[in-house]
Symmetry: C2
């Protein structure tokens, strides 16, 4: 660029519905980082600053006016270029990454990573510590005594090379520009933008280095995107960004109106995944995990989508043979965790002192079990974090005994609450009773997979 | 309010097209002031802050989603309540204030204030030092040697009581919330909002205490509002805010496609006004000043708009009698300025060392003399300020010899450039040549008053 653009003019252009060039977006983001975190005491070399207020105004203009695909691609590039990249070129197998936009009772990573590893792919999955009612993947794994998520790049590559999968914490040096801007978006009401979400998600995936990426974009009451249309728009944009960057990528748009798994809480979700892997695949969590892993495998092998059924069949076999469980056990051990969690999770994982069964108050079919409210109950028990840096309680949460569509008689268990105190358990049970919906006829069951993109 | 609202929820509501209650807007603005200027080192007592970034995001959401009339009224109230009010109750005559949204060659205040004073009204006009290509009213008056604009409230009331008019600088203690938010809007691209402009303008007028307010809302190429519709929307909102606050108020929507007066520059505009007052009313600047003063008089006397023609006639008589000039002379003297400026402005006002006449390059009618570009030429000569705190040069600018519709022969003067250096004069002349438009037929003349509101 010849001369530094004026930030107020760039804000005004976005405000009035225009688009910024890749160079202009790079200038805005890099200048923002230099202004707010610069080593020159918050200043910039030439005195042209982009303040938090200016960035916030720009982001709000973008939320309301939208970003073009070119802008989202450019933002992704700037975010990736702002920090380190994880170099996976030393790994021999095809590398696969997986990302979910976040739901309730969604332990798919704990199943997908070992499944893919058991089929010869190599999964290096970096996670952030998100905010939310339920813990993130790192919180779930840290419920396993001894499990370490803070690995060096060398350790990550070593575990992936030996075992085929590793799940670790994203370092501060990965996509620092995205981190800074995400923190600002979080406090300025500027999160709901397809372009901003896509560039944030995809910059992390591209910087993480995998050759193939499978995405799970949630739609529904318990998801960030409420409608299937919005989720599909996000999925399509993410896939296009990845493809333009030379990666293989596909996305599922999946339903998140009620919890995916039955365990809601960190240790409870680990235990559910182990129990599933110790038996044959069963239920919605297992089904979606197989779908995601099958797509990852098809992408990793450079196959057409027509090969999804046979890839899924292969993964079902590896599941049934115990191969996937063995990969999980090896990964837990390699990351310092107690591998006996894969034999008897109840004996190894932390347990809450209070367990309270919540019985059905009427007979009928479960018609509603809204994901967000179930997540809030779990959060109220201590399983999530309201603020960055909060501790999560690994033991608490809910074990659902039913899912939508199940028939119950009066007194049948709906769930077991795992709590620190009787009072907390009582509150959770009372809340659960108010949110469960009954109906007289069996609801129509629909697949969790709403759409395949890519 | 029971509990402090969460700023992110309020931002999100505005982002999604909702409205805030008066209490909520008060909380946002007061909390913002406490956060950014609080005596507790930028913190707030209960730790609930509204940062510059959050305010900027909120303002951008408001710019794009709009503010309701109730919101604009509430913001006006909060701004007024944030600081001192000027108490004019000790003045005996009816008090009138006048405000223009700003144009090029607009010295109406220098004519309207003494005209109203000559008819028995009392005008206490507070001005800010705006940014722009041409100086503000304070800059123009300060071109008069000795003229003081920094008066105490007591001095203002004293001058107004004795003479009928006073023009002074708005103090830092008037509408501090508006000042803080205006400064933020200026750097975050969040100025173009009818609701924000109206509450900013009207809070200053309400805090200034006059019982009647006449507004001049400019529309056109050289104005902030480009279209008559937008300007009328702003005028209507301003009038409703004033009326709801118990003031008498009316507005003119007037054209600002080419400069109103012929002098463009601080001393040049003072000189033009004096020359006009020393003769009979003549030209567009005089006509609009009479219209504005007539409306002020009708409002001050509690009369219907049907009395505007006779009020205007009365003012023309006071003009012709020299009464208005005498009021200007008394005001200049009372504020420390050299009153001889009203006898021989050329002898008293500062003069630029270089004068360059710009001749017409072709014959025909002047078809275009775009206000913004004329203002920029004047600004380029040093008559305005690009940054807050910049000095303005009182002597430089342009004296136009023509206005749109005038017929010229080749070589007839278009303007005289008043400059510090030959080079600056040459640049200004070259620019002026490129912006003057000629046409072969006389353009249709239209009135500067496009609409009357209130």
């Amino acid at each position: 660029m010849a001369a530094a653009p004026r930030i107020t003019e760039l804000i005004a252009r976005k405000r009035d519905g225009g688009a910024l060039s890749a160079d202009e977006l790079r200038w805005v983001v890099e200048r923002y980082l230099a202004t707010t975190t610069g080593t020159t005491g918050g200043g910039t070399a030439d005195g042209v600053a982009v303040s938090e207020a200016q960035m916030a105004a720009f982001l709000m203009a973008g939320v309301l006016r939208g970003f073009t695909e070119e802008e989202a691609r450019a933002l992704t590039d700037v975010f990736v270029d702002s920090g380190d990249r994880l170099d996976l070129s030393a790994l021999e197998g095809p590398t696969v990454d997986k990302h979910s936009t976040g739901g309730v009772g969604d332990g798919t990573t704990l199943l997908v990573a070992p499944l893919l590893a058991s089929a010869g792919a190599q999964v290096v999955k970096l996670s952030g510590r998100g905010l939310g009612h339920t813990g993130g993947t790192l919180d779930k794994l840290e419920a396993i005594p001894g499990f370490r998520v803070d690995l060096s790049p060398e350790e990550m590559r070593d575990v992936a090379a030996r075992i085929g999968c590793v799940v670790a914490a994203q370092t501060d040096r990965l996509v620092p520009a995205d981190r800074a801007i995400y923190a600002l978006r979080d406090v300025t009401g500027t999160t709901p933008s397809t372009g901003l979400i896509a560039s944030s998600v995809m910059s992390k995936k591209l910087a993480s280095g995998a050759g193939s990426i499978v995405l799970d974009v949630k739609a529904g009451q318990g998801a960030f995107m409420a409608t299937e249309e919005d989720a599909a728009g996000l999925a399509e944009l993410c896939v296009r960004i990845a493809t333009a960057a030379g990666r293989r990528c596909a996305a599922y748009v999946t339903a998140m109106d009620h919890p995916l798994g039955k365990g809601i809480g960190n240790a409870l979700e680990v235990a559910e995944c182990v129990r599933l892997l110790r038996a044959a695949p069963d239920g919605r969590l297992a089904a979606l995990s197989l779908d995601l892993a099958a797509m990852g495998l098809v992408l990793a092998r450079g196959l057409e989508h027509g090969m999804l059924p046979s890839a899924r069949e292969e993964l079902v076999e590896r599941w049934a043979s115990g191969a996937a469980l063995e990969r999980l056990r090896s990964m837990v051990e390699a990351q310092g965790g107690d591998p006996r969690v894969c034999d008897d999770p109840g004996a190894v994982l932390p347990a809450a002192p209070v367990r309270l069964e919540v019985p059905a108050e009427r007979a009928g079919f479960i018609g509603a079990l809204p994901a967000r409210e179930v997540g809030e109950i779990s959060g109220g028990l201590g399983a999530g974090r309201a603020r960055k840096g909060d501790d999560v309680d690994p033991a608490v949460g809910l074990d659902l005994a039913v899912e939508v569509g199940d028939e119950v008689a009066v007194g049948d268990p709906l769930a077991i609450i795992h709590a620190r105190t009787d009072s907390a358990a009582g509150d959770a049970a009372a809340r659960l009773r108010t949110i469960v919906g009954y109906r007289d006829e069996a609801p129509v069951q629909r697949s969790d997979v709403l759409r395949v993109v890519g």
